[in-house]
C-alpha cells in the first residue's frame, strides 16, 4: 500500500522537475509512487495520537506524523509506525560467504545477498553509502516477498540468504518473516550487522538466524559517536546476546589509520571478546581503503593489521584473521591445537578445505563453526 505524505510528493515533484529538465526522465516521481510499499512495523510505542517512538534500535526516534527515523526506513503515519523497506530490495547479488566475511560458516558456499536503503548509523567510511545513506524512494528497488526471496535462493542454488550491505535490522520485519519461511525450506539466514539493535528486538530476531557477523567498529565510545553516529555499549550487549542465543557469531574490526588502531583499544577489545564471547570466536581485522567521506586517509598499512592480529592472539584469541588483503597468509584457517593449515583461501574464495566433519585432519580437534549446510 502506498501512503505518501505531502512532503514526499513535493520533494519527489521538485526532484522530477529537475531531472526532467536535464535528463528527460521523471524517475524520482516514478519511484515515489511506484516502488514504496508500507508495512506496519514491529517494536514501537504510541506516545500520543499522532506521535510514536520507534523502539527498534538505541536511537529510539520520537516521530510525529510524516517523520522518518534516523534510519530513513521507518515512518510515522497517523500514529502508526510503518517500515518503508519491507521487501523493497535495492541490491541483490550472489556472493561467496567468505566475502561477508564469515569464515567458519558453511565455507565455499554462496549467499543470496540482499539490501535495502537506509541505516541507523552514518559511518564516514561506509563502503555502501549509496544504499545506507539513501531514502527508500531514491533507489530503484524491486518488491520481493519473503516467500519469493526464499524461492529465489533455492532456484539459484544458494543455501544461504544474507541480509547485508546496509544495516539489515532496519528491515527487521522482513528478515523475521523471511527467516520463518527459510527455516521451512532449510535455507540458512545470516545478517551482516552493526549490532545496533535494542534488546527486545534482538531477543526475538537472533534465535531465528543461523549466523551473525557484527562489525565491532572500535573499542571506543568516541569513535562510535564521532565517526559512526552511534554508541558502543548496545553493540557490546548484542555481541554477548548473540553468543547467549547460540547463534554463530564472527566479529569484524575495520582498522582505520589513527582513528581506531590504538594498541590499547585493540587489547581491550580482545579481552572483551575472550571474556564475554569466548576465545574461539573469529575476529577479522580488515584493511581500510579510502572511501566515501574518509577519502584522504591512506589504506591501513599491512603491518598495522599484522600488529593488531599479534595483540589479539597474545590476548588469547584463537581465530584472528586479516581481511581485504588478498593473498595474505592470515586469510587462512589454522587449527588452534596443532597450528596446521586446515582451510586455505584466496581473496574471498575458499580454495582448499581439509576439515573432516568440522575436525582438523591432523589432530582431530573440533574447529568451532558451522561447516555443513
Amino acid at each position: 500500500m502506498s501512503r505518501l505524505t505531502r512532503k514526499d510528493i513535493v520533494q519527489a515533484g521538485i526532484a522530477s522537475l529537475q531531472t526532467a529538465l536535464f535528463t528527460g526522465t521523471i524517475a524520482p516521481l516514478y519511484y515515489c509512487f511506484a516502488a514504496i510499499s508500507y508495512h506496519e512495523a514491529m517494536h514501537w510505542k504510541k506516545v500520543d495520537t499522532k506521535t510514536v517512538q520507534c523502539m527498534l534500535c538505541p536511537n529510539q526516534c520520537m516521530l510525529s506524523n510524516g517523520d522518518k527515523g534516523l534510519c530513513k526506513a521507518r515512518q510515522c503515519i497517523n500514529g502508526t509506525l510503518y517500515s518503508l523497506v519491507y521487501g523493497n530490495i535495492a541490491a541483490c547479488h550472489i556472493d561467496p560467504i567468505e566475502k561477508k566475511p564469515l569464515y567458519h560458516f558453511m565455507p565455499g558456499n554462496e549467499a543470496l545477498s540482499v539490501a535495502t536503503a537506509g541505516c541507523n548509523f552514518s559511518c564516514k567510511f561506509c563502503q555502501n553509502w549509496q544504499l545506507s545513506q539513501s531514502h527508500p524512494h531514491e533507489l530503484d528497488s524491486k518488491s520481493i516477498t519473503p516467500v519469493q526471496l526464499v524461492n529465489n535462493a533455492l532456484n539459484k542454488k544458494t543455501p544461504i540468504i544474507a541480509f547485508t550491505y546496509n544495516e539489515p535490522t532496519i528491515q527487521y520485519e522482513y528478515i523475521y518473516d523471511t527467516a520463518v519461511q527459510a527455516k521451512k525450506k532449510h535455507v540458512a539466514c545470516v545478517i551482516i550487522s552493526n549490532g545496533y539493535c535494542n534488546k527486545n528486538a534482538s531477543d526475538l530476531l537472533y534465535p531465528m538466524l543461523d549466523a551473525i557477523k557484527i562489525d565491532f567498529k572500535a573499542y571506543s565510545q568516541k569513535f562510535y559517536s564521532e565517526i559512526c553516529g552511534g554508541n558502543l555499549q548496545p553493540v557490546l550487549n548484542n555481541i554477548v546476546l548473540a553468543k547467549k542465543k547460540k547463534v554463530w557469531i564472527e566479529l569484524v574490526n575495520l582498522l582505520i589509520p589513527t582513528l581506531n588502531d590504538n594498541p590499547n583499544d585493540i587489547t581491550a577489545m580482545a579481552k572483551f571478546i575472550k571474556s564475554h564471547v569466548g576465545d574461539t570466536t573469529p575476529l577479522h581485522f580488515t584493511r581500510f581503503y579510502p572511501i566515501y567521506q574518509l577519502k584522504n586517509i591512506p589504506p591501513t598499512p599491512v603491518s598495522t593489521l599484522e600488529r593488531c592480529k599479534e595483540i589479539a592472539v597474545s590476548e588469547g584469541l584463537k581465530y584472528v584473521y586479516i581481511g581485504n588483503v588478498p593473498g595474505h597468509p592470515a586469510n587462512n584457517t589454522y587449527c588452534h591445537t596443532c597450528g596446521k593449515l586446515v582451510i586455505e583461501r584466496s581473496g574471498f574464495y575458499t580454495t582448499s578445505n581439509k576439515l573432516k566433519s568440522g575436525h582438523c585432519p591432523h589432530c582431530n580437534t573440533r574447529i568451532p563453526g558451522i561447516w555443513t549446510s
Binding site: F22, N296, I297, V302
Partner: protein, 724 residues
C-alpha cells in the same frame, strides 16, 4: 602636483601588482586545503570578484579624496593578505577535517573569510583613485587608472611566475608587499630619509625571508598532524603541486596538494591489476609495456619479469622522493631497469610514434578536467594508436560497491561507452574497482576461455613460475573477485549504452563524477550547486537586481552597467573555458595559471591604451571579441597553444577597453567616481557570474560548445551601440 600624479601612478600600479600576486597565491594555497577541482576554483574566483564588486558598489561617495586615505587603503590590502594567509594556515588546526575534505559549504565560508576583506579593498580603491586622478585634472582618468592597475597586475603575474615562486614563501611575499606599501608614500613624500628607509626595508626583508619559513613550517606541520595519520617528514612546493611526505609506522604516504596520492611499501594493492595484466598478456618476457599511475610495485614486478618497462610520471620532484623511498623499501628490485619518462601519459602519446605491447594506466579519479582527460574517447583512441598488433590496454577505474546511484551510473556509462567505442574487443570487470581491458585485435575474446586459460595455465608458464617466486601466495583464482557474475549482470543491465560519450569537448564523466562527489559530502549548498537551473535562476536574479539598483543612479548607469556586466561575464567564462581547454590539451595548469593571469592583465592594459583615441570604434571592438572567441574555439579543435594565448590576450583587451571607454563617453552629468563605481561593480559582478556559470551551467550542459553561447552574447553587445 607632480608628486601627487606620481603618487596616483604608483598607487594604481601597486594595487594591481599586489592584488595579482595575492590572487595567484591565495588560489594556490586555498586549493591545498580544498578538494582542488574546478568547482573550488569557480567558488574562489566568484568570491574574489564578488568582493571587488561589493567594494566598488560601496565606493560611491562624492567627498574629496585625501591622499592619506589612499595610502591607508594601499597598506590595508597587503596587511589583509598577510592576515588571510595566517588565518588560512590556521583553519585546519582549529577546524580539523581528519581524513576528509571540507564540505562545499565550509569551502565557501573559508574562501569568504580569507578573500572577501582584501577584495573589498581592491574594489573600493579603484573608483577612489579615478576620482583623485580626476581631481588632479588628469586627462582620461578612468583609462589611466585602469591602465596602471592592469599593468601592475601584469607585472605581478610575471614577477610571481618567474621570480617570487622560487625565492619566497607566501607569508614572506605578503610581508614584502606590506613593506613596499608602507615605504611607497615615504619614498614620495619624504625624500631626505630615502637611504634610511631603503636600508630599513632591506633589513626587514632579509629578516622576513629567514623567519617566515620557520613560521610556515610550524603552521603546516601542526595542521598536517591534526588532519592526517603519521608525522610529516617533508613538504615542498614543486612547479606542479604542494607535495607532502608523511611516515606512519613503517609506511610512507605521499600527498599532492594535500590529496592522498600513494603509500609505500604496498605489495598487495596492485595484485588485482597484476591479475588483469597476466590474464591478458600471458608471457610478458621481452614485451614493451608502458605503465602510468601511482604505484611503484607494478613496474618493479614487470621489470623483474624481464619486460621492457617505460614508466610515465609528471612531477620530477615527486618522482625523486618516490624513487629514494623505493630504493630503501624495495632493495631487491633494480631501479635502473625501467625507463622513467617525465611527461603525463596523454602528453607522451601525443608526441611519440612509439608502440607498446601493453599500456597499463591507473589514473586518479576524474574529479578535475586534468584527470578527466585520461577517461575520454580521445585518450582511448590515442592509446589504441600506440598499441602493437595484439597489444593490450588495461585501465583501472573507480566502480561501484553493490549499486549505482544515477550520477555514478551516468559516470560509469559515459566512460564505458567511450572505451568500448574505441575497443570493441574488450573485457570489463565489475565491482568497486573496474578494469577496462581492451584488445587491439579483430578477433572476439570469449571471457570464459580468457578466464579458464588464466586459471589453469598461467602458473605453469615461465612468467607464472617467476611470478610465484616474486609474489608470495599468488593465486590466479583472485581474478574471479572482479568478475562476480551478478555484479557483471548488474553492470550490463544498469549502464545506459545511450549515455553520452565522454570527450574532451563534452566531459560528461567529469561532471557526473563531481555530482557524485558532492552527494557524498552531505553539503546543502552542494546539492543546489549541481542543479544548473538553480544557479541560472540565482544569476538572473542577481543581474536583474543589480540593473534595478543601478537604474536608481540613472538610466545611463543601468545600460552601461549591463554592457560591462555582459563583457565581464564573457571574459571570465571564456577564461575558465580556456583554462579547461589548456588542461585538456597540456595537462597540469598549476605552474601556468599565474602566467595566463598575467597575459589576461596585459590584455586589459593594452585594451585600455586603445581608448585614448577620439573614436570609440565600438563595432570594431565587438568584432574583435567575436574573432577572439572564434580563436578560442579553434584552439579547442587545433590544440595550438599560441591560439589560446592570443585569444586570452584579445578577449581581455576588448573587455578591458570597454570600461574606460564607457567611462570616457559619458552622456549625462555624473561624478566620475559614481560612474566608475557602477562600471567597476558591474564588470566584477559579470565576471563573478561568469566564474560560476562556466563550471556550473555552461560546461555541464554544453561542454566546450559553450563558446557558441559566448559568441551569441558578444553579438548582443551590438544592441547597445547607440549608448557608447
Amino acid at each position: 602636483m607632480k608628486k601627487k600624479v606620481l603618487f596616483v601612478i604608483l598607487a594604481a600600479f601597486f594595487i594591481g601588482f599586489s592584488s595579482s600576486i595575492a590572487q595567484a597565491i591565495m588560489i594556490r594555497e586555498l586549493l591545498t586545503i580544498f578538494r582542488g577541482n574546478e568547482l573550488s576554483v569557480g567558488i574562489i574566483m566568484a568570491i574574489w570578484l564578488g568582493g571587488i564588486f561589493t567594494g566598488a558598489v560601496f565606493s560611491k561617495t562624492k567627498q574629496i579624496v585625501h591622499p592619506k586615505f589612499i595610502i591607508a587603503m594601499i597598506i590595508v590590502h597587503p596587511f589583509l593578505f598577510l592576515v588571510s594567509l595566517i588565518v588560512l594556515y590556521s583553519i585546519p588546526i582549529v577546524y580539523s577535517s581528519y581524513g576528509a575534505f571540507y564540505q562545499l559549504d565550509a569551502e565557501i565560508m573559508i574562501a569568504l573569510l580569507c578573500l572577501f576583506p582584501q577584495c573589498f579593498v581592491i574594489g573600493y580603491v579603484f573608483p577612489v583613485l579615478i576620482q583623485y586622478a580626476d581631481e588632479l585634472l588628469v586627462k582620461h582618468p578612468g583609462s589611466i587608472v585602469f591602465l596602471l592597475e592592469s599593468s601592475g597586475a601584469f607585472a605581478g603575474g610575471i614577477a610571481f611566475t618567474f621570480f617570487i615562486l622560487f625565492v619566497l614563501n607566501p607569508i614572506g611575499t605578503a610581508i614584502v608587499l606590506l613593506l613596499c606599501a608602507t615605504t611607497l608614500p615615504l619614498l614620495i613624500y619624504n625624500q631626505k630619509k630615502h637611504c634610511v628607509t631603503i636600508a630599513l626595508v632591506f633589513i626587514i626583508l632579509l629578516f622576513s625571508i629567514t623567519q617566515t619559513n620557520k613560521v610556515e613550517q610550524t603552521l603546516i606541520q601542526k595542521s598536517f598532524a591534526i588532519n592526517h595519520p603519521g608525522s610529516l617528514l617533508l613538504y615542498k612546493r614543486t612547479p606542479y603541486q604542494m607535495m607532502y611526505v608523511a611516515k606512519n609506522y613503517d609506511t610512507y604516504s605521499l600527498y599532492g596538494n594535500n590529496i592522498f596520492y600513494t603509500q609505500l611499501p604496498d605489495d598487495y594493492e596492485v595484485r588485482p591489476l597484476l591479475h588483469a595484466l597476466f590474464a591478458s598478456i600471458h608471457d610478458i618476457l621481452g614485451k614493451n609495456i608502458l605503465i602510468a599511475g601511482d604505484t611503484l610495485y607494478l613496474p618493479y614486478v614487470a621489470t623483474k619479469l624481464q619486460a621492457v618497462v617505460d614508466y610515465c610520471t609528471v612531477d620530477r620532484s615527486l618522482w625523486n622522493t618516490f624513487h629514494t623511498l623505493g630504493k630503501q623499501l624495495y632493495p631487491d628490485f633494480d631501479f635502473n631497469k625501467f625507463n622513467v619518462i617525465f611527461s603525463d601519459t596523454r602528453g607522451l602519446l601525443s608526441k611519440t610514434s612509439r608502440r607498446w605491447d601493453g599500456i597499463v594506466i591507473i589514473p586518479p579519479p576524474p574529479d578535475s578536467i586534468l584527470h578527466n582527460r585520461l577517461y575520454t574517447l580521445e585518450f582511448f583512441q590515442s592509446c589504441k594508436m600506440h598499441l602493437n598488433q595484439d597489444g593490450v590496454f588495461i585501465m583501472q577505474i573507480e566502480g561501484f560497491a553493490n549499486i549505482m546511484n544515477p550520477s555514478l551510473r551516468r559516470y560509469i556509462s559515459s566512460v564505458l561507452n567511450s572505451f568500448t567505442k574505441m575497443f570493441p574487443t574488450s573485457i570489463v570487470s565489475a565491482g568497486e574497482t573496474i578494469y577496462l581491458i581492451g584488445f587491439n585485435t579483430g578477433n572476439t575474446i570469449d571471457f570464459n576461455n580468457y578466464r579458464q586459460n588464466y586459471l589453469t595455465n598461467f602458473l605453469k608458464s615461465d612468467t607464472g613460475k617467476s611470478v610465484a617466486a616474486i609474489i608470495p601466495h599468488f593465486n590466479p583464482k583472485e581474478l574471479d573477485m572482479f568478475f562476480q557474475p551478478t555484479h557483471l549482470a548488474y553492470l550490463n543491465t544498469t549502464i545506459k549504452h545511450s549515455a553520452m560519450v565522454n570527450t574532451d569537448i563534452m566531459p560528461q564523466a567529469y561532471f557526473e563524477y563531481l555530482a557524485n562527489t558532492l552527494k557524498q559530502t552531505d553539503s546543502y549548498i552542494g546539492t543546489f550547486m549541481i542543479q544548473p537551473a538553480v544557479i541560472a535562476i540565482i544569476m538572473i536574479c542577481i543581474a536583474v537586481a543589480a540593473t534595478a539598483y543601478f537604474l536608481r543612479r540613472g538610466k545611463e548607469h543601468a545600460v552601461k552597467g549591463l554592457v560591462i556586466f555582459i563583457a565581464g561575464f564573457i571574459s571570465m567564462s571564456a577564461m575558465v573555458i580556456a583554462l579547461m581547454g589548456y588542461q585538456n590539451v597540456y595537462g597540469i595548469l598549476y605552474y601556468r595559471i599565474a602566467f595566463c593571469n598575467a597575459l589576461f592583465m596585459l590584455g586589459l592594459a593594452s585594451g585600455c591604451t586603445t581608448t585614448f583615441t577620439a573614436k570609440p570604434l565600438y563595432a570594431l571592438r565587438i568584432m574583435t571579441l567575436i574573432g577572439s572567441l572564434t580563436m578560442l574555439a579553434l584552439f579547442i579543435i587545433m590544440k595550438h597553444v599560441l591560439l589560446l594565448y592570443c585569444s586570452i590576450f584579445f578577449i581581455a583587451a576588448i573587455t578591458g577597453s570597454l570600461l574606460p571607454l564607457l567611462l570616457k563617453n559619458t552622456q549625462e552629468t555624473y561624478t566620475t567616481r559614481l560612474l566608475a563605481s557602477t562600471l567597476d561593480a558591474s564588470d566584477h559582478l559579470g565576471a563573478m557570474c561568469g566564474a560560476l556559470a562556466a563550471p556550473f551551467i555552461l560546461l555541464p550542459i554544453f561542454g566546450m560548445y559553450s563558446i557558441g553561447i559566448l559568441l551569441l552574447l558578444s553579438i548582443s553587445l551590438f544592441v547597445f551601440k547607440k549608448w557608447i
